[in-house]
Symmetry: C2
Subunit: 490 residues, 2 copies
Amino acid sequence: MAKDFFGRNENYSQWYNELVVRADLAENSAVRGCMVIKPYGYAIWETMRDVLDKMFKDTGHVNAYFPLFIPKSFFSRESDHVEGFAKECAVVTHYRLKKNEHGTGIVVDESAKLEEELIVRPTSETIIWDTYKNWIQSYRDLPILCNQWANVVRWEMRTRLFLRTAEFLWQEGHTAHATEEEAIKEAETMVNVYADFAEKYMAMPIMKGLKSPNERFAGALETYCIESMMQDGKALQAGTSHFLGQNFAKAFDVKFLNKENKLEYVWATSWGVSTRLMGALIMTHSDDNGLVLPPKLAPTQVVIVPIYKKEEQLAQISEMALKIKANLEAQGITVKYDDRDTQKPGWKFNEYEFKGVPVRLAIGPRDAENGTVEVARRDTLSKEVVNKDAIATLIPALLDEIQQNLYNRAKQRITETTRNVNTWEEFTSEIEKGGFLVAHWDGTSETEQKIKEETKATIRFIPIDSHFEDGKCIYSGRPSKQRVFFARSY
Amino acid sequence: MAKDFFGRNENYSQWYNELVVRADLAENSAVRGCMVIKPYGYAIWETMRDVLDKMFKDTGHVNAYFPLFIPKSFFSRESDHVEGFAKECAVVTHYRLKKNEHGTGIVVDESAKLEEELIVRPTSETIIWDTYKNWIQSYRDLPILCNQWANVVRWEMRTRLFLRTAEFLWQEGHTAHATEEEAIKEAETMVNVYADFAEKYMAMPIMKGLKSPNERFAGALETYCIESMMQDGKALQAGTSHFLGQNFAKAFDVKFLNKENKLEYVWATSWGVSTRLMGALIMTHSDDNGLVLPPKLAPTQVVIVPIYKKEEQLAQISEMALKIKANLEAQGITVKYDDRDTQKPGWKFNEYEFKGVPVRLAIGPRDAENGTVEVARRDTLSKEVVNKDAIATLIPALLDEIQQNLYNRAKQRITETTRNVNTWEEFTSEIEKGGFLVAHWDGTSETEQKIKEETKATIRFIPIDSHFEDGKCIYSGRPSKQRVFFARSY
């Protein structure tokens, strides 16, 4: 275990908070609930963003940018939306400051009050549909497949780095379609893109399904989601894709002439993932020794540390290290050679272990003579000594293996902690152990709400392609046709 | 000239405004002064961002992300800075809305008033230096070379798409150094990066120099800038790089232990370019037929338009077109084949001309039979018919030629409109013709202010490596050692 560091079992929450700060990923700022994403954390987010951006473009989407501010009245237009989003938010009321005439510093200039307050966007459906109104006249203008990378603000009372912050970074896709069928297909396509990304890049196994009406996005007819299971037995919603029906088109009066020359409201979707994915990534793989990163998202995939006492030893080691580095880089692997003389090898070992660098190579004087290298894996913490000539083929394969191993480990955890429960007694005792409980539910919001109040568990998702099965609701005993997935969650 | 479109000479300002909207680059939004950057415009900005981002990383910088909001009191800490930035800005005063109990819609919840107002960042020196305070203890922590891509807000009264908007996108680099010399070198390096980018990618010739104290960034000891000359004879500041001395370190108490183990204030720079570059790009090259884009920043570099009457002609043309497309794409060229049957070729020609696609290939039935292609250049509007087998080598060379030609044209304009003036009479009459006037100035802010009031011209920059030359200030007649560059500007 890393020094002065909480283990996961000791205090999972504190383990997470300290890990994020000590691994140089993010920290709290002077502004309540707003974080600073530090360069190491931002480099991981940048890779996530670049990979996702390419996946969006490969599925026909383009990027655009819409205003940070939304007129207050826009939120009232869609009645469900206002309930969900127009509550805790940052409100801009003035546009000027002036010198304090009666003291020091600066004060708000009361004469510069906005006629209508502006809301810092918590999500952009309203301003975007107000814009789409002017872009859409006929079916020829459809579909519109826009995405935006942006910051959004939701005034959360209890914040945690990456998981829940007042300001966060995200992408929000907003699409407009001529038919209901096409919009539903789009919403499904995008949840599948998120699922692919989570599994292939984050090495994070996920479950996919529909939200219950209680948990749906405010203004959506259907919310598709991906959910993952963290090491403490709590689920985490990692991405959502919403079929919005014609709700926003009606709220903003967006109609188009269809092929039959009739006016019709446009069909909509929206979908997003955020810097919350960073929290999911950290919690899925990391351990008591610090961060563990899947190779595909690691800013540094391989670090090489020289171990030496004399300068001439370093020269010999460096020659070998730089050859290995060049060779791996030619294969597209990111390699750092850390030959700083301000830190000892032991310090460096701890540092890179804590920061989750997937592979560490160490070369000492005897290695340089024998042509060997010590290869250490971050995921298993195992080490082996290999011939330097084997490195060029071994490392790419090892990175793949680590990526796969991380996925498998997490997958096993999900599988082991997902189980059917059939009675309320079983439910209330099993929920304390964490994981997904797969149980019958009578389909009502009241029951879901009661279960939440009594156990803090919510329906994380309703499986889409599951087998239907007759049963009785664990809470009300009323008939049910399908099991749904419950868990406590982030 | 494009139909229903103002020529540059008719009304340059209206020509610009209409061009931006009609070429699908950007439009005004429902929020005063905030623009929507449309997909075509955003694609150009994305390329700019990616190229610049790589240039920043190649010069050792990393990205990070700092909060959108800045506590009001932070602005008062640096006395010059508060004068320059804490005036016209968006002020967040509340964090909740509620249902209007006495009417419809939602209203600000007066019980949710912030103790200290938050300012939407107009620039981030203050919040970043408040953060750096915790990152810096010793010279070993230096330099810090961070950049951030972000949105910022300045409550401008008169806005114009891209050139001056309340919200805009930009990057801001903020670096911390152990020595004055190193910080100055950094500020110079970055203005050179901007100059390289402008000339090599935007094909926009620029002049480089120092701002006069009047025009300096609020809080800087020295502001380096790049300035370009638009077609209407007005200069445009395209990028700035500031040497901030120890001003922000002192304001936020950021000290470090130097190698001699003494506490010292940290030295700083900041530097930025914004979506304003889009305005510069548009105004530098475009003409009465619409947008003209340098190939290196064009989202589509080559468009292929088929001309046909019968379906079997299209089949034959498409076969040839798709081969050409694949061949050019293999060389890294972005090609669009527009075989939509909803629009006529003439419409397509106008469309791509207006959107500034550098090269258009047209293939008709006779071309398909003869194995020829019509190649049209957007920059010169010239056309030639070439053999299809020549296309693969001709197009890459042609794109380079267009890029160079655009640069040369703009360079010639700058050269022709930059001239020495030696008397006040000459100055006041020449300034009406636009361009840079190179004249002696007595070095005082008062004189600069007077010249601005009387002619609307400002000192755009003071050349760095110019020859010193004895002369008399054109306004005051007092002695001067150096000519400086005056112009009216955006």
